[in-house]
Symmetry: C2
Subunit: 321 residues, 2 copies
């Protein structure tokens, strides 16, 4: 079975680990979000790709969900001593190596997809990890700063990590997405997929950014295979992260039903909501999307695997319908 997964960071990575347990023989291709990429200290940093790679490769800091295990922060301390920031972005000494290798390869002319493949040669994540695009896409967020009242467009990481989404996102723009092309292998993987899954990743700044690359949304809609998603919203609140803030920016209420409708029946065939949201199953089905209520808290690997199994079961129901 060939499965394509559109993944953001932590939620996507943990779901993928569950999927590997649920479908050990599946051939999994991950299309990774690169909209949260950022250039720091002259280096190209790809947080979502790295979170997937480290999580599936056994190098992740399990507690925080991002960054490396056994990490130290000496380099960052020294940069701060030189007065060089930003200080709010937590790059560890081990993590820096990934960005240095990536930046060197990019400078040598390799596209990001080839660089990602090379990095995965070390980590052996057990999936094929492809960035959504080799072109530069960086999500920016329009905010009004509370102190000055100044309206400003800032990088998504500044919004997410520095401001911790503490102010309203007035607009979310994946800068460069319109001109971006899917990376080599993305459309082919979608065309050859038996199932396409949207993990409980952020529907705006993770899955939404991937879908904003021209050709990807269309390829998924036209693939003719079940497309099943898992709600990142449980009981009207994001399971983790601050999805509600960016959903508001695109005019979508923070409910499992509204997110399903945001994707739409033209794209999505099946939708899993948490058992606490069982009451909205009917509303989603009325919108033309097959819906089931199952436990959606990824408290551990087994829970993630159960979620993945439910998603694959729903996909088979869609296929048989």
């Amino acid at each position: 079975m060939r499965i394509v997964v559109l993944a953001g960071g932590i939620g996507g990575a943990r779901f993928l680990r569950g999927l590997q347990q649920a479908a050990p023989d599946a051939d999994i291709t991950v299309i990774g979000n690169t909209g949260d990429d950022i250039h720091l200290f002259g280096l190209k940093v790809c947080p979502d790709l790295d979170t997937v790679m480290y999580t599936l490769g056994g190098g992740i800091n399990e507690e925080q969900g991002w960054g490396r295990t056994d990490e130290t922060f000496h380099l960052k301390e020294e940069l701060a001593a030189y007065g060089v920031g930003p200080e709010w972005f937590g790059l560890g000494d081990r993590d820096f190596a990934t960005h240095i290798v990536r930046t060197q390869m990019l400078s040598a002319g390799y596209p990001l997809s080839a660089v990602t493949e090379a990095l995965c040669d070390r980590w052996k994540p057990g999936v094929r990890l492809i960035p959504m695009s080799d072109d530069r896409v960086e999500t920016h967020v329009a905010v009004t700063l509370p102190d000055s009242g100044e309206r400003k467009v800032i990088h998504f990481q500044e919004y997410w990590v520095r401001l911790r989404a503490s102010v309203a996102a007035e607009a979310v723009v994946p800068v460069g997405a319109e001109q971006a092309k899917p990376a080599p292998g993305v459309l082919e993987a979608i065309a050859e997929a038996d199932v396409i899954l949207f993990p409980p990743s952020n529907p705006v700044v993770s899955v939404g950014t991937i879908l904003a690359v021209p050709g990807i949304r269309e390829a998924i809609a036209d693939a003719g295979v079940p497309v099943v998603g898992l709600s990142p919203i449980v009981g009207d609140a994001p399971v983790r992260g601050m999805a509600d803030k960016v959903l508001a920016a695109v005019g979508v209420e923070s409910t499992a039903a509204a997110v399903a409708e945001h994707y739409g029946s033209g794209l999505l065939d099946g939708w899993l909501v948490d058992t606490v949201d069982a009451a909205i199953v009917e509303r989603v089905e009325t919108a033309g999307i097959r819906c089931r209520a199952v436990p959606l808290m990824m408290s551990d690997l087994d829970a993630a695997a159960r979620m993945a199994r439910e998603a694959l079961t729903l996909a088979e129901e869609v296929r048989g319908a």
Copy 2:
């Protein structure tokens, strides 16, 4: 008193610390060797400048004489795990920060002299540290590899650090030196100096490389102030490092007298040799260079300060002659 010092790495840095103790009120300008600079992992590394900066700024690893104190090597370990080398060059996590800041500033268009000044804003070495040139100069060494018999030209750092000068240096070439211009402030500092000192740094790949930048040797010879050097060779062997190997490449025997003659009386007015070499004082003086035999082992800061005082005393003798 304005003192100009032409400095290499460890020997130069330790001598400078002694000079600061010996002449606390002096205005010291250090012209630093950049011929051992190397590009590693996409970063510009300036080992000699950093050794001076870290030593005088209190950040040096005192035992090894180079690199940072309290250092870790996690980034380097990770680079090796990615199969990215070279592994023989010991960049620590804290040290990396210096190279990242430097590389970012160079990429932004600042010349190395301005970058060095900015780095020194943090370290406050108590001297003005100027690279010999803002232009790229990299010393290369011609060797015959013992295994294959292949003749090869390698970067000085590869010769020094990886091969530990275990094969003969057949030629030493400061690539780029002929086209290089002295950095802003270098010729001015020399012209305004009251005394010019050559610390017991390597006469070929440290002081020699600085002198190879067109204009510097001439400016020193024409400065009309005492130029006094300290022999890095004690009893026919280098005090530290492998100066004998690179002296052989330029046809100079590894003795304190031969090094003085290599600099020549056109450049050098005074020369300090170690007491074990007292017998050669006459030979050096015959060559037109005032010479004294004093203890030249920089075993600690006080010893270095005594050497600096001897150098300044000899300079005054030269001036009064």
